[in-house]
Symmetry: C3
Subunit: 333 residues, 3 copies
């Protein structure tokens, strides 16, 4: 992990150990036990595959007129994640892959643009060293540096946006990015090569998108898979189709899981809750498929908002999304 | 809209503009932008098809021993409705049909009976001018004047009550209507012609109905479609069946959507929440089918209660129910 | 009911009538009306089949490091239960079977072990008199005396644990039972005969179980039916399979319904909520099947926690579980 420490040094705060409390039961180890004890030895260094990175950022949500709080999500999610067992019912993923919590990107006293530049730099470093970054936001503005980092590291990328909203809104005053603009920003970056046909908007809800934004996606050759159509055709076949479109002719794929694509009954703690949406089970099916798919290299989980959560329901769901992704990922190694 | 203004004058308060705040983004217009600016011109008059009418009434809920708050629903629902886009993913319904918010029935300082008489009069006026009224309650006591107005305007009507409860309870002291009695009141009105076979109770839940009330429905020839049976047979085929029964031999059909027919996970903000019930997706399928069906002329949405809502989840669902109905309706024109 | 009163005397507090308020409507009788008036006559004595017993206990939850409150569940559940109608849509179960509320096990100032001994004694008495006990917990520690009572009354028993967790955790200090240990305690009782193959863990969730606990279940020949596998194979066929395994070669079957097996969207009020899990509909299908199955003799409902409930959603679901079980049971007589 020394190379990870070098990559993140100066920019990243280490794991917050107060989020972790061991049950001290050797017959019932939790993810936190592995992360805070097992992994912290030199023998683990070359085994690490997946790296967790937290980005407590919601300046972009505020700019977009949304309600803030997503910056508090990484701590809420990790507190729950550390208490889960690593056992899926068939496999303990720590026996298959190395998983390391690299800490939290510093965002205090930085502008959104400064923070995004640091994040892009850190994610690029992790990608270049061969890791599989898992980034916990934060608002969807953290998607822009993720996609940019992947796009600058590979010849061609695909993007699957799992989301109730299109998030291709124009910049404010033609220059300020926000939580509604990340995919337009990635697509319009000169140094990122993404074919429109490898961009899929998955789960866009009726009456939650502007026609002009959907037109933009179509104009660049992207594909909108509406929530209503997905319900009609079936979740699994639709998600497989989206994975195919974003990976078939690309070197690698970025999947962004916006938690507001999930029905607010299952995920109340988000910036902009939706009363319809995917089920908790469907979300976990998608995250495991993302982990299993050979082209998927980078995922993020965004827009969770602890201020509106109910008894940690949403934090737990995101934590399960991370473990399901890791179980999928463990099948690749 | 001048004729609408005449119909509602004296009885109806105009739209409350404080519920509406524009995003001022010409590329992302919301329903409120259309209602508060586009529609307010003379050119729109002959285009209006669907008219929204609010009835902040819950005296009947109180009489029935229920918890009040449904009177606050119209404002809660409209505040959310005005922020939605009018774009379903395939169509902007404002391009197909005219939709007008006629305002709010005055209920202050009136008895339930006085308020119901005014409502029946206003709804009759709207029907006689050819409009499709969409009424937001209020407790289910607002269903009585709706059904009575439709029944007095047509030779024969059908009624589809989408509800966890039968709402055919006798009047209190043989004279006072309430939120549990609307369908008995409509059926027993001498000047309303409804065949029992055209009355369907859709979604009645186990252990939520009195056997004697179910017996009443059967005795008049009506049909009870129990929630448990609907689950077994499938939602869509059951709802299609209910639509067929209430429209096949009638001139027109009234559908009353009681939000408590929906599972409280999706619709916590109702007078009498049910822990089982229809999903949010099923509700929206039903409202769009209602809009599409050529015989359906009048719908209402009742028993939403903002005092028990969670982060506007239920208000949003009802708002989506209205937009889905409008999308369905737009296919008729 | 005199024999019931003898069995429970000294240990059990009678029904709390303040939980019950009649609607005083003879045409709309509620379960509370039957329990507090109809049943309380001598003519009912020989008709009673199912006996409700409340156990307000959560010392075992505290020992297991969980959050307490389950001791408050019986009152919360019964307050709702008494208001339901006994009419399923096809049958009033009071016309088929006798149902009696035997009251509440005294737990004040008792250790967990003392309370469990009393409970085992009372449940044994009810079983020996031919009754079908329905026990409302309390934490899962109330499962141990239930299983022990059944195991000591029959040659061989099966156990179906409907649960997100395995609850076969070792005793604390090798001697203190708790809410995580009931099934290990039953299995290891010398005077209880249960084949490992007749023990099914139904609904165990990913990342919620220790691998070592699952290994224990497998080692004794038990079967773990994981939540994820059940989702893939279908709920009903899986539950039927579990019923078959726990009843085929046994004299009788005990089913323990841990409410945390249900998704927290439908059942937020539990000690340890799970963000995935069974639906409310699936739970009611299972409880009715339990009632119908000829081998099932004893059920309990555990881990409901009113302190975290939302507008009585979970209490209502458990109440419906009891009525669905009674409807199933009524088919046997």
């Amino acid at each position: 992990m020394n190379n990870i420490r070098e990559i993140v040094s100066n920019y990243v705060l280490p794991n917050n150990p107060t989020l972790y409390r061991s049950k001290n039961d050797i017959s019932d180890p939790r993810i936190g036990d592995y992360l805070f004890t097992h992994n912290d030895s030199e023998t683990c260094i070359k085994e690490v595959n997946a790296v967790l990175l937290s980005v407590p950022q919601d300046l972009g949500v505020a700019r977009n007129g949304g309600r803030t709080g997503a910056a508090l999500a990484p701590e809420a999610i990790k507190k729950v994640l550390y208490k889960l067992t690593p056992y899926s019912g068939t496999v303990n993923f720590f026996e298959k892959i190395g998983f390391y919590d690299a800490g939290t990107i510093q965002t205090d006293n930085l502008t959104l643009e400064e923070s995004q530049a640091i994040q892009e730099n850190v994610v690029s470093g992790l990608l270049n060293e061969g890791y599989y970054p898992i980034i916990i936001g934060g608002g969807h503005e953290i998607g822009y540096p993720n996609g940019a980092a992947l796009g600058c590291s590979f010849e061609s990328i695909g993007i699957l946006n799992f989301d109730a909203h299109t998030d291709v809104r124009p910049l404010i005053d033609n220059r300020l990015g926000h939580s509604g603009s990340p995919f337009r920003q990635i697509i319009e970056r000169k140094d990122v090569n993404i074919e429109g046909s490898a961009f899929v908007e998955f789960g866009i809800q009726p009456f939650a998108a502007a026609e002009s934004h959907c037109d933009y996606v179509k104009r660049i050759g992207g594909r909108i898979m509406n929530y209503t159509d997905i319900r009609r055709e079936g979740f699994e076949i639709s998600f497989d189709n989206a994975l195919y479109r974003t990976s078939e002719n690309t070197d690698t794929t970025y999947i962004s899981f916006d938690i507001d694509a999930i029905c607010s009954a299952f995920a109340p703690g988000v910036s902009a809750p939706a009363t319809i949406g995917f089920t908790a089970d469907e979300f976990l099916l998608a995250t495991e498929k993302a982990g299993t798919h050979e082209k998927v290299r980078l995922v993020d989980f965004v827009e969770m908002n602890p201020l509106y959560d109910i008894d940690n329901r949403t934090a737990k769901l995101v934590a399960l999304g991370i473990t399901s992704y890791l179980v999928g990922l463990s099948k690749r190694f």
